[in-house]
Symmetry: C2
Subunit: 320 residues, 2 copies
């Protein structure tokens, strides 16, 4: 692996014309509630609604012209699929996307809107990989894995780059962990720019393989997951876990009720739409999984793709 | 009236340390839908959740020290109340707020959170004014009217100032109209900075006094109102109407269904929380009340204070 600050800076230069420089928001009410100072990097306001646009765009624009012509392919039920379809459209090359047949309708529509060529498969990991492999063989397209890909990780790290450019003196940097692409890009960028920063991955207790792996010092993939945070139902990747061990200070977990409460609180106070996965770091603060009193805390809000007609706090018992 | 660009620029210098410079967001999907280019000035991300922080802060910080000591007072069911309480707290003076007894609970809580001293009254205009007058006599506080106040209008005009600083070449500038404070500040600032700009006020058909007054060339106050846009149930003020006739190009109206559809669309595409009043300008575009094809259109999203547990598109027939 050669993921380092220079790679991430090169990715930033490459993708800058194609992505949004997302704002960093603060909120007096949330600061008062935790006793620290929170800086929200709003990747929910990113193109295609998530930080995934960064990694996918970097991968697509890293390809040589002759490679690019064959297109790109991936398997994803969510934001990476839309981000890759968008990046491919920008480069005018085909994007072949394998999606499980039970994918959320808004995510399918988003991929279609960007012109992605969808192949549906049975909703399990084996079917996803087999279908993707078949597509790769047929099309000779370039695989862009959602997180086990250095170009993707380098792209994801550009959010931390921008955040630390604006707020250089952070004590903590928090982000959600699914496959670990965002975590690794973030950690490598932040560790280089600010060696003393504490980098904390945050994960739903219902999909806590990264936290368990981190404590066990070996990768223990998920056998099952149960969380509303649909972006985080994946096991951390092999290369991602190796990097996380090297660069990350801690990985903490949060409850499902905590995720919903954090999501509601951020919508209500900060006035932005974030998806459940993006609420996980703030849930860790609400549930006091780390002490941020008098600390300056960067939080990467990973995305905002959520079904407005099926909100988790509406029509449920025990909603906040 | 001496409201002019210089007054608005002075207001901006005065309030800048106390308010957020809100971001201007764009969205490819909404641009594609209307054929124009939309620039959303996000006052929903403003302190206390609405542009009202600008006017109230300008009024409070315009007071001489000796006046300020007696505090400020107003009657308001909504965002102006919270904004005034917040500004008073910043200056460490009391804020006396008359609120109708049927005010929305989140708005009451917000005023309380900023330390506002609330007096409840019967929910009608006469009771509001009588109660406020009594309070003014008892406390000798300074009245800060929500819109018929030059300091308030000058403050509200600073949003357009910032927007035009970032995007100078707008063809249109749209904002909602209630009492007309935002419309007048916006129109005076924009007309001075860009004489050829078209300034369009947008209003719910269910509270269309400003549109009717504009066409009749005389002020016709509301006798009743029926709209989900709770910030716009007020009649346009006398001084506000006089200024609007001078500076505004048109006032158009939108349907209730259009407001809800526009609100849903902005949440879904732009990933931000806006209140119904803030959706009215985009509703005017969706309902083709003006032709924005190939035009660059500034839209002031007025606020984001909405009850997340009672969204208008949930549990209603005919929701989008």
């Amino acid at each position: 692996m050669s993921l380092d600050l220079a790679t991430i800076q090169a990715a930033h230069a490459r993708i800058r014309p194609h992505i949004t420089r997302t704002p960093v928001l603060t909120n007096a009410r949330l600061n008062a509630a935790c006793g620290g100072k929170l800086f929200f990097k709003c990747e929910n306001l990113q193109k295609a609604g998530a930080f995934k646009a960064r990694g996918a765009t970097n991968a697509v624009f890293s390809l040589a012209d002759v490679e690019a012509l064959r297109g790109v392919a991936t398997h994803s039920s969510g934001n990476h699929a839309a981000a890759l379809a968008r990046a491919a459209k920008l480069r005018r090359i085909p994007a072949y996307i394998v999606m499980p047949s039970n994918s959320a309708k808004p995510k399918i529509r988003l991929v279609e809107a960007y012109g992605g060529r969808i192949t549906f498969c049975e909703p399990n990991q084996a079917a996803r990989e087999a279908t993707c492999l078949r597509l790769l063989e047929e099309t000779l397209a370039n695989l862009v894995h959602p997180f086990e890909d250095e170009r993707v990780m380098a792209g994801q790290g550009t959010a931390a780059l921008e955040l630390l450019e604006e707020i250089p003196d952070l004590d903590y940097l928090l982000c959600p962990v699914g496959g670990g692409g965002l975590l690794c890009g973030t950690a490598v960028a932040a560790r280089a720019l600010r060696p003393q920063i504490k980098i904390v991955g945050t994960e739903p207790a219902g999909a806590d393989d990264a936290a368990r792996s981190f404590r066990a010092h070996q990768r223990i993939p998920l056998t099952t997951s149960d969380t509303i945070a649909d972006g985080l139902r994946t096991s951390i990747g092999q290369t991602n876990f190796a990097l996380a061990r090297q660069y990350v200070d801690d990985i903490v977990t949060v409850s499902e009720a905590g995720i919903v409460a954090a999501m509601h609180m951020i919508w209500d106070a900060v006035k932005i739409v974030i998806e459940p996965s993006a609420a996980v770091p703030y849930a860790a603060i609400m549930e006091q999984r780390l002490d941020v009193t008098h600390r300056r805390v960067g939080i990467i809000l990973s995305g905002g793709n959520v079904d407005l007609d099926a909100l988790p706090w509406i029509g449920k018992k025990g909603a906040p």
